[in-house]
Amino acid sequence: MGSDNDLELPIRQFPGRGNAADVLPHFSPDEKPFFAGLAGARLVLQACTNCKRPRFPVAPACPYCLASGFEWSNVRPRGVVHSWARYHRGYLPEFAPLVPYVVLAVRLLDGPVLFGRLADNDVEPQIEMPVHAIAERWADGGHVLAFACDQEAR
């Protein structure tokens, strides 16, 4: 779905506090390839072997064609803001220093909608604004998906 260069995620340092291990899903080995992909600077999703559509969240069955088979594949780390919300309260200690911060629902060019924090604090979010995925490295070395505006230097 594009050259290697187009698939690479910029990696930034997470500006909040704490460890990624405390905010990642505890119980789902199914999601390991997704997070391993981020550590390798790639956005990796399941693609259905039947209908070929990439999907998210990680799941054993395709929500579109209902088939079970899938393979992990790179998707283009680009999309547009489908929706956004600005947190005025620090519900999670890891994100409390970032308040107010914006969480995005991003509609990828390849289809699925993914959640991620807007890493650019000085940008006013707009629905349909183009963004790209980044990987943020946390203090414990874990990598987490976030998004940045396309007008920012990549």
Binding site: D22, L24, P25, Y64, F95, V103, L145
Partner: protein
């Protein structure tokens, strides 16, 4: 010969009210609500042979403790997930059990003490663990994205909805303002002081675009609702409030507790919602059109859920709800009074049980200053498609 199907009715209700009951145990609160419901119905504790619990431990009582501590000897009991969304499901299970003869008198019990736990918005809030659940949190909680607490998913969904239909964000305030006006006549309501559009606009954001006044108020409560067959109900103290028709919660990749299917927030597919024959079938089973519903009561943890419920069940078209409610239509004197107790936003977050008490009061003609003239039918509905239509 096929078994004869018979109807089911609510015959007794009781509550301790809504507020902070830090010094009372769940069992003591539940017992007080039960005593009132038994008194209301004219039944005795020994008559109860079915028990359904909505919220279990640790905020309330699990079924086994409830039966033991409340001295209930039951032959049919069950309990749902500790979430508000299952209020109507509990009632439906009661109706199914009565219809199948698994019990003769079923007590539906909701008791919970939120004040015993840290507030939403603090790290000690117990359901924060849900965000780390396999498959993500029930309100789209995704901790690694900073998407925490139920309000985050609601905020993302309403932001998309407002954009999709080009709706002025401040129109959302009509929900909180209308429900607060209704709550002024409800002695059980936590908040009963009227608010206007200016006060609403000054209400601070919690998770933008949702303001404090768009959020429900957390309370402690115990509510007891007693159901039996329509046949037995005829001999009891109150006019029976009959369950005319009901349908369950919908689930699937396109279902999210906040927003219509197709909104694309925590949902697989993006499309424009319109009600399908399944979601509308509850009206057909009740023999009523949406326009014949006397009062609508819907789950309102956050104000947008009222708009989405109106659209989910075709009371108005997609994207039209904010205008639909703009001319007083959902107030007590309107053509479709909604959440006339003040709902979760003003009466207190009772997981829908306060709404059920209100439906019963309205249909019995016992709603005092809130009474809707000639109210003969009422409906419970939620954004996830479950519904009960009641009649007197």
């Amino acid at each position: 010969m096929a078994a004869r199907r018979h109807g089911v009715a609510i015959v007794g209700v009781g509550t301790v009210g809504f507020g902070t009951f830090t010094d009372s145990s769940s069992a003591t609160l539940a017992n007080a609500a039960l005593e009132r419901a038994l008194e209301d119905s004219g039944l005795s504790r020994a008559d109860v042979d079915g028990l359904l619990i909505q919220i279990g431990s640790p905020r309330g009582l699990d079924y086994d403790a409830a039966a033991r501590l409340l001295a209930l000897n039951v032959r049919f009991t069950s309990q749902t997930w500790s979430h508000g969304r299952f209020g109507a499901t509990v009632m439906q299970h009661a109706a199914l059990a009565l219809t199948e003869g698994l019990a003769d008198v079923v007590l539906c019990l909701a008791v919970f003490r939120n004040s015993a736990f840290a507030k939403i918005g603090t790290a000690g809030f117990p359901s924060f663990g849900e965000g780390l659940r396999e498959g993500g949190g029930p309100h789209a909680e995704t901790h690694w994205a900073g998407l925490a607490a139920p309000i985050g998913g609601a905020a993302l969904a309403i932001q998309r909805y407002l954009h999709r239909y080009g709706i002025d964000r401040e129109k959302l305030g009509r929900v909180a303002i209308a429900q607060r006006r209704a709550a002024a006549g409800n002695p059980l309501a936590v908040f009963s002081k009227e608010i206007d559009a200016d006060e609403y606009a000054r209400s601070p954001y919690v998770v933008e675009p949702l303001r404090v006044l768009d959020c429900s108020v957390m309370v402690d409560t115990a509510v007891a609702v007693i159901l039996t067959t329509s046949e037995r109900a005829r001999d009891l103290r109150q006019r029976p409030v009959c369950l005319l028709a009901y349908q369950g919660i919908r689930g699937g990749p396109n279902e999210f507790v906040f927003g219509q299917p197709g909104l694309g927030v925590n949902q697989a597919e993006i499309f424009d919602y319109s009600p399908d024959k399944h979601v509308m079938s509850v009206f057909g089973k009740a023999g009523l059109d949406p326009g014949e519903i006397g009062t609508l009561h819907c789950y309102d943890g956050f104000a947008p859920q009222v708009l989405w419920t109106l659209e989910r069940f075709g009371f108005c078209g997609p994207g039209e709800a904010a205008d639909f409610i703009g001319d007083g239509r959902i107030e007590l004197t309107g053509t479709l009074p909604v959440n006339t107790s003040g709902g979760h936003l003003s009466e207190g977050h009772s997981n829908g049980w306060g709404h059920t008490l209100e439906i019963v009061a309205q249909l019995r003609g016992q709603a005092g200053p809130r009474q809707i003239a000639g109210c003969e039918t009422a409906m419970w509905g939620t954004t996830i498609g479950d519904a009960i239509i009641y009649g007197i």
